[in-house]
Subunit: 358 residues, 2 copies
């Protein structure tokens, strides 16, 4: 949290779902006056009870910032309305698609700043709201104007990381990095309906990772896809063309050119994943160690305590379960130069190592 | 490990890579005589030094089991050769594709049992071998004959879980559950090459999960795909057709039928992923809680210790890093009826909760 004076002293939140209420809680913690509106009186009362601010009425003073956190299909009209109701206020929205909203909102003299906090994967009412919802998450701000300076300070005061891009750039980026992966995960998962039940014991961590986000809310994602339909379709078609080229090569695998095509398709994927930043991404960035643990409470904590006591900084970890035995597999990722010490230290304490990246 | 007498008293391992040497180590631990062969003298010496058994020569007694653990492209001919060299031995292979090898091996009077241990994701030499490599992992055995009974006992003695299916059924199952997800993950990851560097801060856990296995070894996977080319192509084409239907709907999103098609594509994915067994799969099976931790050594262990002390059994967990702030996000999955106690207990101790599935 910033210690500088907050750029806005009175904020109107329109829409008290997960995002709107979480913004409100973060502002209340900074002693900003927060007034709430919602088309649902019961949700509004819930947000008020939750400490998010006061229900606004005709006598409530005008805000200097309006946060529109309504469902995406009404966001543009609510923003337009807010710009006219509060002629001196800056207005932001928090919808997950930006270009169509930015185009639909007429002027506002630069007072409308489209934004997108990349947090809150699932829908939820005010009671799902958390003051820490935005902590450490990217929050796209689609403007670089004088008006947007206060918005950026607001975003930072909520613990989020400002990313600046245009509405169109945002929509192209999330099509690539979020919407298309969701569509592909769903398509792979839909195939699992064809599987015989006995096959499922062969499902390893790979297919689980690829299909995990297919468990997301179809209603929410259908709305997101519709709001970004052309950029999402562009990506899906590009991926589909890659798959068609690969299957054509596999149908003619004795052809020498086919082997090159298969190899290149896999290599392009390996190159692409290495461009993901941070602690994840390419397996080559870290050494990995797979430890077998008994599948009972406390084992994971004991293992991680042992890792900590060996003075090794864990870069990443994942947990996998055996399909038929009461054991779990913990994959630990550490810096290359810590790997030998970690393996030897854990083995000396009797931990069972089932593999490492060498 | 079983305490019954081991079904084989003398085993010949042909190919001392990761799999062959790991089998050898597991057998040595059970005091089985293990003789080793490898086309590479230096790898053979390494495996011997590693305690995997003795290098075989002309005077070595014949084995009652041969384990062929060579690269897949030579497996069928090595198996055929072993069946003729050791006319009283049972012969198994451990290659990851089964139908083409089973068809290529001529008879053997039922002495050849195709198998596939689902362990050891990466290639590696003998020094990557682990006695616990197979612990808790599925191991497909493609026979139900008298000869296969000893093989099943062997597999169980190595800690693995026997799954019985025919070679063709195996290949269809792994095309669906392993090979096609690998191909799709690579195709999505290959798209990331188009991204501008500034977009990458928007990459969340979803795209990371979908593309994680794209970091695998292209050389190894090209061989696997080629060995199972038709079943893999079948799946890839089916997924590509799903994607084409989805992009067609997105190109015509104002058409009322298009919205239904988009929603159904997402719902089919949600239904499919719920068929994955075990502790993972559908997000609805467990309640999830996202805890924000400082990104420094010991925090994860401290959190998991706190979870353990609250008496809550952790069903799953994953770790995510912030793109721009020194914090991490730990997603804890627990049984629905433990979720409230866990959230309240952690909050009381000052842990920062950034979200939960409600």
């Amino acid at each position: 949290m910033t210690t500088a004076p907050h750029p806005f002293s009175r904020v109107r939140i329109i829409g008290t779902g997960l995002l709107g209420t979480s913004v409100a809680l973060g502002l209340r913690e900074q002693s900003v006056e927060v007034d709430l509106e919602d088309s649902s009186p019961s949700r509004l009362r819930l947000a008020e009870d939750y400490g998010a601010g006061k229900s606004a009425d005709a006598s409530t003073p005008a805000p200097d910032l309006v946060v529109v956190a309504t469902p995406p299909d009404v966001t543009a009209s609510v923003v337009t309305d807010a710009l006219s109701r509060f002629p001196d206020a800056v207005v932001i929205d928090v919808a997950s698609v930006k270009k169509n909203i930015a185009s639909a909102v007429s002027s506002g003299d630069g007072r409308f700043i489209p934004t997108h906090p990349m947090a809150g994967r699932e829908r939820g009412g005010p009671t799902a709201a958390r003051v820490d919802l935005f902590t450490g998450r990217p929050w796209v701000v689609c403007a670089d104007s004088a008006e947007s300076r206060g918005v950026r300070a607001l975003v930072e005061s909520l613990g989020a990381v400002v990313v600046q891009m245009s509405p169109e750039e945002h929509d192209r980026a999330v099509a690539l990095l979020s919407h298309a992966p969701q569509a592909i995960s769903s398509a792979v998962a839909a195939e699992l309906g064809d599987a015989e039940a006995s096959w499922m014991n062969l499902a390893g961590q790979g297919v689980r990772d690829v299909t995990r986000i297919a468990g997301s809310d179809p209603e929410l994602w259908a709305q997101i896809f519709e709001g970004n339909s052309d950029f999402v379709a562009d990506r899906i078609e590009s991926i589909s063309r890659r798959l068609d080229a690969l299957s054509a090569a596999l149908r003619d695998v004795e052809n020498p050119g086919a082997r090159t095509a298969v190899h290149e398709a896999l290599q392009a994927g390996k190159d692409g994943v290495s461009s993901l930043p941070g602690k994840h991404g390419s397996a080559e960035r870290y050494s990995t160690l797979i430890v077998v643990i008994d599948d009972r409470p406390g084992q994971l904590a004991a293992l991680l305590t042992a890792v900590g006591e060996l003075g090794v900084n864990l870069e990443d970890m994942s947990l996998e379960h055996s399909p038929g035995a009461p054991v779990g597999f913990v994959e630990l990722s550490v810096a290359h130069d810590s790997a030998d010490a970690l393996r030897e230290g854990l083995e000396a304490q009797g931990w069972r190592i089932s593999g490492d990246s060498g």
